[in-house]
Symmetry: C2
C-alpha cells in the first residue's frame, strides 16, 4: 500500500573542514530538520507550515529551499502529484551547519520515498542543489552532498560534479559549538581573498592531502597536524566573537583540532572519545557564556547514513 504522507529527518553538516574550503564536508547525527510531505488533491505544490524558523523562511514555493528542490524533481520526472510540505526547522538558520541544505535534502529524500521513485542519491543530488541554490545563491555542494549521501564527503570538482565518500575513523567525535551570533553569509563571502599567494597554496594543498590520508588511515595525529587552514580561517575568525579563545578552550579540553563550520558562527572540534567530546562542549560553552553570549552545543559522530524516515 502506498503512503499518503511521510516524515523524514535530514542531518546538519559541517562544511569547509579545515583546509578543505568548498570541497570537504561531513554529516552530523544532530541537529537536523524534519520534513513532512503529504499527498494533496489537484497538482498543487504548497508549503502548509514552517516551524522553528522565527518566521524568517518564505512560504513562496519559488523561494523556499524545500519546495524549489521538490519542484525541480517533479519537473524533471514530469510528475503532477500535488504535495503539501511541512518544514520543521530543528536547527538555527545561519548557523554554519547547512540549514538550507538539510531542508533541501530532506525534501527530495522524502519525495523520492513518498512517490516511490527509487532514485539514487546521485539522481537526487541536482534537485537538492537547486533548492540550496535559492538560499545561498551559489552552487556549492559541501553541505548538500554530506547531508544527502551521509558520511565524510569530498567534492573533487563541479564540472561535472564529482563526489567521493571518504572513509573516516569509526571513533571520530565531533563537538559543534554554535554561539549566538549572527553572521551574514554575504559578509562571510565578501571578506574572502580573491587571490592567494602560491606559498599559501602549497601549505593548503599539503594540509588537505594529509587530512584526507589521516582520515582514510585513522591517523589521529596526522588529522591533528593537518586540520590547519591558512587561507580562510584567518579572515573569517574575525567575524566570530572570541574565536581564538573558544578554539584554545577546545584544544585544552583535548580536541584533535578545531575550526570554523561552514561560514560560521558554529565551530567544530574533533576528538576520539565521547568523554573528551563532552568536555569540549562544556568548556567551549563556558567561554562563550563568559563573553556574554548564549550557545548551543551538539556532540555527534560522523553520520554515515544521511537522511532517514521517521514516520
Amino acid at each position: 500500500m502506498s503512503r499518503e504522507s511521510i516524515k523524514v529527518f535530514a542531518p546538519a553538516s559541517v562544511s569547509n573542514v579545515g583546509p578543505g574550503f568548498d570541497i570537504l564536508g561531513f554529516a552530523l547525527f544532530e541537529p537536523g530538520d524534519e520534513i513532512i510531505l503529504r499527498k494533496s488533491l489537484y497538482g498543487k505544490l504548497e508549503i502548509s507550515s514552517i516551524t522553528g524558523d522565527s518566521g524568517k523562511l518564505p512560504y513562496d514555493i519559488e523561494k523556499n529551499t524545500a519546495s524549489v528542490a521538490i519542484k525541480s524533481l517533479l519537473n524533471k520526472h514530469e510528475i503532477s502529484q500535488g504535495i503539501s510540505i511541512e518544514v520543521n526547522k530543528k536547527m538555527g538558520l545561519g548557523s554554519g551547519l547547512g540549514s538550507s541544505a538539510a531542508s533541501a535534502v530532506g525534501a527530495v529524500f522524502a519525495a523520492n520515498e513518498l512517490l516511490e521513485l527509487n532514485l539514487s542519491v546521485e539522481e537526487l543530488l541536482p534537485h537538492a542543489l537547486a533548492g540550496e541554490f535559492v538560499a545561498s545563491k551559489a552552487i556549492h555542494a559541501d553541505n548538500v552532498a554530506p547531508s544527502l549521501y551521509g558520511g565524510f564527503v569530498l567534492i573533487r570538482g563541479y564540472d561535472p560534479i564529482d563526489i567521493i565518500k571518504i572513509k573516516s575513523p569509526k571513533n571520530l567525535y565531533c563537538t559543534v559549538i554554535f554561539p549566538d551570533i549572527e553572521i551574514k553569509t554575504s559578509e562571510a563571502r565578501s571578506i574572502l581573498p580573491t587571490e592567494v599567494s602560491l606559498k599559501k597554496v602549497i601549505s593548503q594543498t599539503g594540509n588537505v592531502a594529509a587530512l584526507i590520508y589521516g582520515l582514510a588511515t585513522t591517523d589521529y595525529s596526522l588529522i591533528a597536524r593537518s586540520l590547519n587552514d591558512v587561507i580562510i580561517e584567518p579572515v573569517r575568525a574575525k567575524l566570530i566573537t572570541g574565536y581564538y579563545e573558544i578554539k584554545k578552550a577546545a584544544m585544552e579540553a583535548g580536541a584533535i583540532g578545531c575550526n570554523i563550520s561552514g561560514s560560521g558562527p558554529s565551530m567544530f572540534a574533533f576528538s576520539n572519545s565521547e568523554e573528551v567530546a563532552n568536555k569540549i562542549a562544556t568548556e567551549t560553552k563556558n567561554v562563550v557564556k563568559n563573553l556574554g553570549l548564549g550557545s548551543a552545543a551538539y556532540i555527534s559522530k560522523v553520520n554515515e547514513v544521511g537522511p532517514r524516515i521517521l514516520d
Copy 2:
C-alpha cells in the same frame, strides 16, 4: 668486519605530481645515481671522481651536492673520518627527475652504512636536504624525501618538516619520457604565478585530496580524474616543446594521467599494466622524435625501497 668502501644506488624521483606542487613525489627504480665512498687517511673529505655529468658538476666540496650532504652529516655527529667520494651520474642533469637529490641521498645513505652510524631516514633527511640546497638554492623535499624514504611521499609542511609515506597501488606503472631539451630551473621558477585565484585554489585542493584518496584506495578512475593541475602545468608546459602533443600520445596509448615531472622537461604518465607503460614509452618517444628531438624513456613501478647497497 667494518667496510673500507661502499657502493650504493639512489633513485631518481618524480616530484610536483599533478596537483601536488612542492608536496608530492615518488621514487623510481630507474634511473638513479651510483655513489661510491672510500675511507681515506687523514680527516679529509674529497671528491675523487665524477662521471656521467659531461663535466658540469663541481669538485669543490662546498659546492657539490654529495659532499655538502656528507659534510653536514659528519659535522653534526662530530666525525673526522676522511672520505673520498666517487659520483657516477646515471641520469641527465636538469632532467626534472631529482638528479641532485639522488646524489645527496646516495651520499648520506652510503656514509651512514660505511661509518655504521645506524641513523634513521629521519635523521639522514636534513643532511640530504643540505646537499640538495646547494644545487637548487631552495629547501624543497619533494625529490629528496621520496628518494631517501622510497615510495610515494607527501610533504605536509616544512615548519617543522612533516613527511608522510602514502600507500600507492601495487600495479601503478610510471613511464617517464625525458625529451632532450634544456630547461633552466631558474626560468621554470621565475614563470610561476605568485598569486592564484581562490577559484583555482578550490580546484587544486579538490584534486589533490582526491588524488591522495585514489592512491590510498587503488581507485584508478579517481586517480585519472584528479591528476589535474590548474596552477603550474599551464605555465610550465610552455617550456616543453610539444608538451600537449606528447601528453595526448600518452593518453591515447592508455595512460591514466600524464603531467610534468619536477620542473621538466621530463614528463610522467601513469598506467596500470606493463604493456600500456611500454606502449606509452614507444608512442611518446615517437612524438618527440617527430619534433626533431632525442629522448630517453624509463618504465618503473613506484620504488618502495629507496636507496640500496650495490657493493
